[in-house]
Amino acid sequence: MSAISQKSAPMARAQRYLIGAVCVLVITLMLGPIALSFFASIKTPAEASASPPNYLPQSLSTENYQKVIDYQAGLFTYASNSFLVAGMAIVLCLVLAVPAGYGLARFRLPGKEVIFVLLLAPLMIPYQAILTPIYLNFSKIGLANSHLGLAIVHAVLQLPFSIYLMRNAFEAIPREIEEAALIDGATSLQVLRRIFLPLVIPGVVTVMLFTFINSWNEFLAALIFMNKESSFTVPIMLVSVRTGRLGAVDWGALQAGVIVSILPCILIYVLLQKYYVSGFLNGAVK
């Protein structure tokens, strides 16, 4: 039987090389599209629209980026819109999810199961379906075509995950810490602010990360709600860059726009990978 599991040394080495080669191939496939898009973005506009295309730029140019920066209301406006919406969505999520997580983890609530299921409702009811009534309601109270309105929708999307994460973070804190404070006469709000909040900071950071990335990338609600050019978020601006003038696509500018829009996400991912991946595993499966 040992013959099956014990491979000769050359065979084991060949296998290692093979696995290494497969890894390198996979890395190429995953990074290739982003690299090609970046190369296209620094071509001259004429070369970026040339057919047949080149892999690498023949001459470098920042003209595509300049075009994106100057596009209609200006990249600064669209990026500000996106940051503003994401910022408001983050605040909403934290203001709602931190107390909710605390309440769920630390109190004996009447009808806890029902409450929990209700809070998970946004997970089961596709937001794509309820955008129409939300849109009509927002029109009545002046929130249609407003960044706060879009931020509310993005907060709805992110809320179940955030509550879930915060509940787990609060549950992980040992009872003794809380009891000592309560015996000293602290109110539950003081316990939350002074003792618990510092301990659940990793959870808070994860909520912020996910809310930012998902809000920055969200497409359908932004497409429906933001119907004034100057209030577009970055993904909607990109689609409008593609449509271009007279139906001809400005390929160089489009790729420059793609690079600009993925930059914050990649930056966050590279800098905070640990938070991101662990939060991802926590939210999706458990």
Partner: protein, 291 residues
Amino acid sequence: MASIRNRHLGLIYVAPALIFVIAFVLYPLGQLVYLSLTDTSLLGGGEWVGLENYEKAFADKSFWRALWFTVKYTVVITPILMGLGFALALLTSNNSPLRLFTRATIFLPVVIGLGTSSLLWYWLLDQQVGLFNKILLDLHLVEEMPVWFTKADPALAAVIISVTWKVIGFGMILFVAAIQSINSEVLEAAIIDGANYWQRVWKIIIPLSMRTLLLATLISAIGSMLAFDQFYIMTGGNPRGQTFTSVYWIYQNSFISFKLGYGAALSIILTAIILFFSAIQVFLSNRSGTE
């Protein structure tokens, strides 16, 4: 401690989130039901029409074609995402530097927006300026340039290629976690008993990752059933409306043709389908939480 723990104190902390969900999810859902029974349009209307919208929906060939196309997309892409994702998890679940780096690059597109990645691939797959076909030709993988967006099936394939690149890391990262949580003693015992690598994969790793596999499949399938961005950007529903998905068709009716009442009826039908699957998902996840 129970005496200090006022039951209603906890409710105060939970209340804001609860009110938010009721105001922006449950109440709109109720309104959606009502809307679906009226002939509301973005331009006015709002007369009660009973079940007329539903009767219309059941007879609407375009809606059924969109729903069927969405199912087809889901049925094709889910096994690809899960199978390939699992294979990549097996490849990279050891924590050697090369494999860690491979894993990080596979997960990278997950953080990019689906809209953005669709625009990237829309360019890569373009007939005139795209590099995808050029690569296929230069590597002699094809004799002739494939044409992606003039027929429904190649267009579907194009979208699947792009989405696979974008989300393959999702399943992979979940599977890596599942594989790494398997007790190493079990695997070592199997090695001592003479089980080779593939026997260990089939007899130990896959059975012990079953719950994760099931959950990931559900999450992924629900996501695919709600596909919109990738088709809106890459195919625009074309050729001849053959690549409309359910959500896209609802969007088209509600916000392009302004038929909000009819769109609401279609939304209710879609919600019912999704609710069935997401209820299973929540049930499965909650059970695992208590284990």
